[in-house]
């Protein structure tokens, strides 16, 4: 069984800029890969190569075994894609948009009509089916765009920042739609600059910046690379920190760091919740009171900062590079 998506040494220049600089990717069938990186990291360029919209300067890529450069038509038949912009015709209604795409997928007219109805109801757009897409909200446009991408029920879907610019509610609705697609067996490659999105949807995550892959693994593996879980303990005012410090040193792994001012003690632990339980039991046995105790896990944001030296989401999240260029 070939990998759903396989890419090796992809390189793409735009003038002097190496937008993609040796990217390797593998997405096994039935899994979700999150391509995570800030704006300009090379995510969209990578996606555009995989979806046959750009030809790479070097390297090669296959989708279900078909080469994206040599055999683009085969790739196009097995691949659904939704880009950063909801690619819908604003002057057409939701129904007309889906019928148009169906016809262009070479469906017979009656099949295209029936398929449009099915997708409209599946994506909860039936009520808006006869309104022009111009009147749709951002979330509705994305759903219509996804419906178009799903039309032939492709085995592999590529979504480029499917929720950028959406409000949190629409984002969650879209996540549910995406989860249902994955549950139904679709292999998914998803780019995002939202850490939470990658954490929520992806089986494995590929962190990319300046056109290079910085790290690859499951969310947990990536977090483990940044550091272990740790227990943070806060004592009441006036309480002596020594006894609690000894407890944490014996239960934890490594040095206890103490923040005198905040009366906070932090120790890395190897056994997660079990270590936390151990510390609480010992503190109770010794009668040491505490205000707060918690097990903290590294977040993907910690991973990102550790890998790139900057936060993923500090860049303008919804800035549209193409529009920016056209304004100049």
């Amino acid at each position: 069984m070939p990998e759903a998506i396989h890419a090796e040494g992809l390189v793409k220049h735009f003038g002097d800029v190496r937008a993609v600089d040796g990217v390797d990717l593998d997405v096994p069938q039935g899994t979700v890969l999150g391509l995570l990186g800030p704006n300009g990291a090379g995510k969209s360029t990578t996606v555009r190569i995989l979806t046959t919209l750009l030809t790479p300067d070097a390297g090669h890529a296959t989708v279900l075994g078909a080469d994206v450069v040599k055999d683009p038509d085969t790739v196009r038949r097995s691949l659904g894609m939704a880009g950063q912009f909801a690619a819908v015709d604003e002057f057409l209604t939701g129904r007309e948009n889906l019928q148009l795409i169906g016809r262009l997928y070479q469906l017979r007219k009656r099949d295209a009509v029936a398929r449009a109805e099915e997708l409209l109801s599946l994506f909860d757009l039936t009520d808006a089916a006869d309104r022009t897409a111009k009147t749709y909200s951002g979330g509705m446009r994305r759903r219509l765009d996804l419906a178009a991408a799903m039309l032939m029920k492709p085995a592999v879907m590529v979504l480029d920042e499917p929720t950028s610019g959406l409000d949190p509610t629409s984002r969650r609705v879209l996540w549910d739609v995406i989860r249902a697609m994955v549950a139904d067996g679709t292999t998914l490659l998803l780019t995002t600059q939202y850490l939470e999105e990658a954490d929520q949807l992806a089986d494995s995550i590929c962190v990319i910046d300046h056109g290079r892959v910085l790290a690859y693994g499951t969310s947990d593996e990536l977090k483990a690379r940044v550091g272990n879980e740790r227990v943070e303990l806060v004592l009441p005012e006036g309480e002596d920190l020594t006894g609690a410090g000894l407890v944490m040193a014996s239960e934890g792994q490594g040095d206890v760091s103490i923040e005198e001012q905040a009366r906070k003690l932090i120790v890395p632990v190897s056994d997660g919740a079990r270590s936390l339980g151990g510390i609480i039991r010992r503190l109770d046995e010794l009668g040491v009171p505490f205000d707060d105790i918690a097990l903290r896990r590294p977040t993907l944001d910690d991973v990102f900062i550790a890998l790139t030296g900057r936060s993923a989401e500090t860049d303008e999240a919804t800035e549209d590079v193409r529009v920016k260029e056209s304004v100049k």
Binding site: L104, Q106, A112, R115
Partner: protein, 283 residues
């Protein structure tokens, strides 16, 4: 959310690539016509300037412009209306260019490019629906012209042939527009940049004044201008004045020259535009 059923079977491939190309082009053209119907502003935009020009030129310039040795007012009206109709026809570049640049910006072109459809169909479809808008524009301008005194004198078949030649030139220029739209970075550039050559191209011609009275180099340019050939052909077929310039070959054989120019423009720009469409990287 329930589960999406398996996809319907696709049609068996049509006889050859051309069959699919024609079918896909008509599907795109149909969606383009819905657009024309729902956003008639585009046709109005195409109509406003020429209508003003026809009315204004007819009442301001009539009597002052020397056409073929006379400043006869009725003659100038007929002369002028044809020039402005032909100019409007080549301005179709702007509508097509802006439409395609807009599709590019919205990602619609990427969606089409990722579909297993015929190569040139998106552009052919768009140029066809723009051509329908163009035909409507010509009909309206014919009526406006008739209202201010434009007449045809050679019978209905020749009149229709004259309009057909102008329409063909306009369709040729929608392909120039398609290439412009694909090359432009934004719909704004796509709709403003063509003015840089459209205005000289339409004024260094026989459309508004009689080239026989121009200085020799300008006259040479005007008489070989592809646009002039169609204007000359239409005037000849309508029996309107101002067809005196007969030094250059296209002016002596305006109908043949108009056909040749339009077909060459279609072949050249269609080839370039389709190639660009296949290669264009929008990011």
């Amino acid at each position: 959310m329930t589960v999406l059923s398996p996809p319907p079977a696709v049609r068996p491939p049509m006889a050859g690539a051309i069959g699919q190309s024609v079918r896909d082009s008509f599907i795109i053209a149909k969606s383009g016509l819905i657009r024309v119907k729902r956003a008639p502003g585009m046709i109005l935009f195409l109509l406003i300037q020429p209508t003003i020009f026809i009315v204004m030129f007819t009442f301001v310039f009539a009597g002052s412009v020397n056409i073929g040795g006379t400043t006869d007012r009725a003659g100038f009206r007929e002369f002028n209306v044809v020039g402005i109709m032909a100019q409007t026809v080549i301005f179709s570049v702007i509508a097509t260019a802006a439409g395609i640049a807009d599709d590019m910006r919205k990602g619609l072109v990427d969606r089409f490019r990722s579909l297993p459809m015929a190569r040139g169909a998106v552009l052919t479809g768009r140029t066809l629906s723009d051509a329908v808008a163009l035909a409507l524009t010509l009909v309206v301008l014919g009526c406006v012209g008739a209202a201010v005194g434009w007449r045809f004198h050679e019978g209905i078949p020749k009149m229709l042939a004259g309009f057909a030649l102008m329409f063909l030139l306009g369709y040729a220029f929608t392909w120039v527009g398609a290439l412009t739209g694909l090359a432009a970075r934004s719909p704004e550039t796509a709709s403003s940049a063509p003015m840089l050559w459209l205005l000289p191209a339409s004024f260094i011609s026989n459309a508004f004044v009689d080239p026989t009275r121009m200085s020799t180099p300008v006259r040479y340019m005007a008489e070989w201008n592809p646009f002039s050939a169609t204007v000359q052909a239409a005037r000849t077929l309508f029996g309107n004045p101002g067809t005196g310039a007969r030094d250059a070959w296209p002016m002596q054989h305006p109908i043949g020259a108009s056909l040749i120019y339009s077909i060459v423009i279609i072949v050249v720009f269609r080839t370039l535009a389709v190639r660009k469409y296949r290669r264009t990287a929008t990011s």
